[in-house]
Amino acid sequence: MNEITRILSEMGRGERQASEKLLPIVYDELRRLARQKLAHEKPGQTLEATALVHEAYLRLVDADRPQEWDGRAHFFAAAAEAMRRILVESARRKLRLKRGGDLRRDELDEASIVAPEEDDRLLDLDAALEKLQHQDPRKAELVKLRYFAGLNNEQAAEALGIGTSTADRDWAYARAWLYREMGKGTDTTGN
C-alpha cells in the first residue's frame, strides 16, 4: 500500500493527525508530476491544472484498494488546496520575475503560468478566497474543489457531504461574492 492510500485509510478510521500529513505529500507529488509531465511537453504546451489533479488521483491512490468516496473526498480536498498553492506560488513568482525582482530559479519557474493578466486575476481570486475562508469555510472549500480540482457540482457536494441543491446555491453565491470582492481591488471605474 502506498503512503497516500495508507493515510487515506487512517483518515477513514478517524485518525486526526492523518489529515495533516496528507496535504504536504499531495502537494509534493503534484509538483513532481507537473514537472515530470512538463519535461516531456513541447514549449508552449499547457498542462491543465484540473486534469493534473485527476491524473494524480490515479497515480497516487492505490487502485487495488477501491476507495470509498470518503477517501476520494479527502484526496480531492487536499489536491484542490495543493493545486491552489501551486498555481498561486507560480503566479506570484512569475509576476516577480516580470518586474525583474527576484531572479532565483525554481523548478516550476521554468514551467510557469500563462498570461500575466491571468496571473493577476488568479491572485485576486486567491485573496478573495482567503476572505471567504474566514467568513464561510464550507463555501471556500466548495470553490476550491470545483475550480482547482475540477470536480462537478455532484462530486463536490458529495465530497462536502451536502445535498446537490445546497451545493448549487452555495456555488452561485460564492462565485458572485468572490467576483464582487475581486472587482473591489482592481476595478475603480465601477464597471
Binding site: R59, A111, R146, Q155
Partner: protein, 307 residues
C-alpha cells in the same frame, strides 16, 4: 433576511420590475444592504465565464528540461489519462473525440474507464481507453478490438452494451452503456450478506448474460464480483469487461512470462496458460466465493445453470 438569502431569492425573479420590487421590500430601506446585493447580482452575471473556465494551466517552456534533477516517478504508478483536448464545459476534465470526460471511474489491466458525456447523443456513457502500454503492442490492440467487435454483437439485458468502437483513435477506446449502480463486489462489501434469494437471482442473471455471450463465441475470461455490475434500484445484473482481460494478458505474458488475472476466480486451464473456452467462465462463476462473502450456505450454482 440576510444578504445571501435575498441574493438567492433575487436570482429567481424573472423580470426587472419584479426584481426591483423584491429588492426594495427585502432590503427595507437598508441602502447599504441594497447596494451589496445589487453588486452581488451584477458580479453573478459576470462571474460565470470566469469560474467556468478552468484556471490557467501550467505551460511548458524551453527551459523546462534544464532542471538539474531528472524527474522521477517515485512510487507513482504508470497510469495516465489519454491526451485530452481542453473542454470549456464546466465540470469536465477534457474532451476525447466527441466525448466530454467527467471523471475516472475505474481502471483495470486493459486501461481506464471514464464517465463521459456524449455530445452528439446527449447521454452519459462509459468510455474504456486502452492503456498506453497496451496501445503500443499491436497484438494487444488487435485482440482488444476484435473482442470488442464480437462483444458489440451481443445485445442482452444482462450484458453491458457497446455503443461505439473507436479503433482509429490513438489509443483506441470503446464507448459503452454507463451503468448507474455498483459492482457486486461493492454491494457485498458495503451491504453485507446477500440473502439466498438474491444469490439465486443474481447468479441466474449472470448465467443468462454469459450464455448470450457464449452463443456469439465470446468468452469473458475474467468473471468476478468486480465485473458484475448491479444497476441502481432493481439491481439488474450487467456483466462488464468481456474479453478485455485477454488484451492485458498477452502483453504480460510476453513481458514477464507470467500470467496475470484474478487468481481467486481463475479456472485451472486459465491459470496454466492453456486455451480457455466458455467453461472457464462457468468455473469462475462458482458459489464458494460469493457464499464466503455473503456468509450464506453454499449453493451449487451449476445446478442453477443446468436449468
Amino acid at each position: 433576511m440576510t444578504e445571501e438569502t435575498i441574493f438567492a431569492a433575487a436570482l429567481e425573479k424573472e423580470t426587472a420590475g419584479e426584481l426591483r420590487a423584491f429588492l426594495d421590500e427585502a432590503c427595507a430601506g437598508d441602502a447599504d444592504l441594497h447596494a451589496r446585493v445589487e453588486a452581488l447580482l451584477k458580479a453573478s452575471a459576470d462571474a460565470g465565464s470566469f469560474f467556468e473556465h478552468p484556471p490557467a494551466g501550467l505551460v511548458a517552456t524551453v527551459d523546462a528540461d534544464l532542471d538539474g534533477t531528472p524527474p522521477s516517478a517515485g512510487d507513482s504508478k504508470n497510469i495516465s489519462l489519454p491526451e485530452l483536448e481542453p473542454c470549456t464545459t464546466p465540470g469536465r476534465i477534457g474532451k476525447l473525440g466527441p466525448y466530454e470526460i467527467i471523471e475516472v471511474i475505474g481502471q483495470g489491466g486493459f486501461g481506464l474507464v471514464l464517465r463521459a458525456f456524449d455530445t452528439k447523443l446527449h447521454r452519459i456513457v462509459a468510455v474504456k481507453v486502452l492503456s498506453r502500454e497496451l496501445a503500443e503492442n499491436p497484438m494487444a490492440v488487435t485482440r482488444f478490438l476484435r473482442e470488442a467487435k464480437r462483444m458489440a454483437a451481443v445485445v442482452h439485458d444482462h450484458v453491458v452494451t457497446i455503443h461505439v468502437i473507436e479503433d482509429s483513435a490513438k489509443p483506441p477506446y470503446l464507448v459503452m452503456q454507463f451503468i448507474e449502480g455498483q459492482s457486486l463486489q461493492q454491494r457485498i462489501e458495503r451491504g453485507g450478506a446477500l440473502r439466498p434469494a438474491e444469490i439465486l437471482r443474481i447468479g441466474m442473471q449472470i448465467a443468462e448474460g454469459l450464455a448470450a455471450a457464449h452463443k456469439h463465441g465470446v468468452i469473458h475470461r475474467d468473471v468476478k464480483p468486480g465485473n458484475i455490475l448491479l444497476e441502481n434500484g432493481v439491481e439488474r445484473v450487467k456483466i462488464a469487461d468481456f474479453g478485455l482481460a485477454r488484451a492485458a494478458d498477452d502483453v504480460d505474458i510476453t513481458r514477464s512470462g507470467q500470467i496475470t488475472g484474478t487468481p481467486q476466480y481463475m479456472s485451472p486451464e486459465q491459470a496454466q496458460g492453456e486455451p480457455v473456452d466458455q467453461r472457464s467462465d462457468l468455473f469462475s462463476l462458482r458459489p464458494p466465493d460469493l457464499a464466503e462473502f455473503a456468509l450464506a450456505p453454499s449453493l451449487d450454482w451449476r445446478a442453477v445453470l443446468r436449468r
